[in-house]
Symmetry: C2
Subunit: 453 residues, 2 copies
Amino acid sequence: MEQVKTLLEDHEIPRQWYNVMADLPTPMKPPLHPGTGQPVTPQDLAAIFPMNIIEQEVSSQRWIDIPEEVLQKYILWRPSPLYRARNFEKLLGCPVQIYYKHEGVSPAGSHKPNAAIPMAYYNKVAGTKRMTTETGAGQWGSALAMACQMFDLVCRVYMVKVSYEQKPYRRLMMNTWGAECIASPSNLTQAGRNVLAEHPDSPGSLGIAISEAIEDAVNSPNTHYGLGSVLNHVILYQSIIGLEAQKQMKKLGLYPDVVMGCCGGGSNFAGISTPFVCDKIHGKEVKIVGAEPTSCPSMTKGPFAYDFGDLAKSTPLLPMYTLGHDYIPAPIHAGGLRYHGMAPIVSHLVREKLIEPRAYDQLKTFEAGVKWARSEGFIPAPETNHVLAAVVDEAMRAREEGKEKIILFNWSGHGLVDLVSYDAYLSGKLEAYELPDHEIERALKAIKDFPKP
Amino acid sequence: MEQVKTLLEDHEIPRQWYNVMADLPTPMKPPLHPGTGQPVTPQDLAAIFPMNIIEQEVSSQRWIDIPEEVLQKYILWRPSPLYRARNFEKLLGCPVQIYYKHEGVSPAGSHKPNAAIPMAYYNKVAGTKRMTTETGAGQWGSALAMACQMFDLVCRVYMVKVSYEQKPYRRLMMNTWGAECIASPSNLTQAGRNVLAEHPDSPGSLGIAISEAIEDAVNSPNTHYGLGSVLNHVILYQSIIGLEAQKQMKKLGLYPDVVMGCCGGGSNFAGISTPFVCDKIHGKEVKIVGAEPTSCPSMTKGPFAYDFGDLAKSTPLLPMYTLGHDYIPAPIHAGGLRYHGMAPIVSHLVREKLIEPRAYDQLKTFEAGVKWARSEGFIPAPETNHVLAAVVDEAMRAREEGKEKIILFNWSGHGLVDLVSYDAYLSGKLEAYELPDHEIERALKAIKDFPKP
């Protein structure tokens, strides 16, 4: 019997998060206040986030202690196992060893609770009574619903309408954890009503749902907003994935040649990769690859620019690769990872050439996902299928180059609540889709009046 | 930080299954051939099972080696973690320590692959090319679909129609793993056509679906049937749960006062409990409790009798607690565990007073399940909620008795693909339901001409 899993005991869980801000070779551009064009101050953010989270958002401290109360929740599923995908390796027949962090073991089935738990905890400590958020495919909304329940906070989730309708089980998860889930655009906010007035049949977008959640938080007593990706503090919390992976690879006496993740807003990818980015900055040779959809190719096709995080322009201007805050994903796009922008940290690392972005079309991603399910057993989330396509790609390159490689990637979540898109794939209803050029023109128009980074 | 999980490394996985048949204080009654009234011979079973599995079905060997090929698949998720449910303990505020085996970590989300993997493996070795089976809620069907894919067998699953319609995601899991899933009763078999002729709107039952799967296996080339519970070899395979739990409790320096599981056909319950039954037979003091639904109360209300395992009377007569092979669950019954009979081994242990059965109504089970999800995070399968109701019950008894107790139970699976029944519960659409007396009269009538055990 060949070993498959490398485990860490509860007491081996990392006690600190890693903040890549401390190690960047060049400083990041600051977020700007859209009114003044000046860098935002902590005070500017206080309407939506509690001050303890804002301090982490702007911190450049390398290591940040994980509170005891957060650790006690993390160990419900963390440290997550590091797997070797021996069956998938055999199927590919390439000269690679493939290791993955199985983030599907969390109660919500993805990496998202890594950020939801501390976010709910810090809000609780700061006196927040209620949280609002947005969700696309539902991974983040269900994670925050669970976290709020664990810290006794009321939770409302604005869920992109097309997903709300296609994925009833995600709403039911949120309800089971005691949260309210609203289809967005909704009539509950001005932002939602504005969209509905113009497009009564709008399928919604993350940009719209974020606007609704922020508006709700700003206008409601004792309420704060929580964002599931993109921002620095979210990426900080997710670093626990990469820190655990480093411990586990060390137990095996190995170091990866390639580290990979799929990219929507960037949080699971940054989570596994920033500790390795740190090594790379300090001289280690390691390739770090982020896989995004060809249908939402912010890193590979979008301009690097200042843009809003949401449609209603309620966020600061963020320096990032963006498809424009008015981007609405094509209905044909089945696989999640639909956010118009990429985390400023990830965008910065791409510009620094510390990270290499690649785009994969959805047929390739589901092909890889079904192969995975049929060899390794676990059915991946459609989002996760993007990194699987990249792993297949990398394995094939290794064969062509005649090089042995150790690949490490983040298996960000399972697809048991997202099987409808597998149905579409298996019954031949999915098509390859690449974002058309006129969408890039729209994006450039959307950002043309903003300051240039 | 207080420890929550007790892990075993891959190499600590048990290498043998435990067969409780070797330790029974009195022998079990044999299954009978319905035509002759004589004990069935291995040859009688050869039409539906391969001989290597039949040998295990009738074996009284205490320890049976787990083949290397089966171990290599088991370690994709096994050994499963032993959890301490500290948050649920706090919520109950009773003098109990609650430990559970988390069988939801398997790719199919339940304990069912423990039996599906060896079943597919032994069939492969015996030259089978195709397997058929039945499934109710879908846990077993999806497990066998995955196992057949892993050993390159074609798989067809007959799924009880009401579940097929209510739980589309289960069918999609089976499809993703390459299996075919048919709503039962179907037009593909005589058994199905007979039911449809009389009841075109039949919601189906496990008894009907078993008849269809057996008929298909018997009439198709190179095809064998696989049953997901009830039979001795299934209970043998599931013993790995209890064997691991014993190792893990030993690591903690503890021994349980109470061992519990939920009971449908009996496989997950027997899986965790038979190794402890062995201890009990050899003098150890331990209470062993099986929790079944008041809507399908085979152990607590059914007669102990010889009965068929399926509606079309294609199985041998099995000595078991039964609600009659013509039992059809009430539509109000939401929580799985719908089989009319109880595994002969479990039935025998109940009669020997080594096991104590209890019945819980579905409102109590979902109440316990939602409390669990909101404290421990993981959303339990509706089936699993039955043992949670029993755990709550046992904890309350401990408080009343003023005794400290260590409870161990089998958390048989997660409910992420069964959230529709949570929706029914949370929106107040579920009612308490107890099997009415006329159903027992029907059962007695159904078995009245059979030999008495």
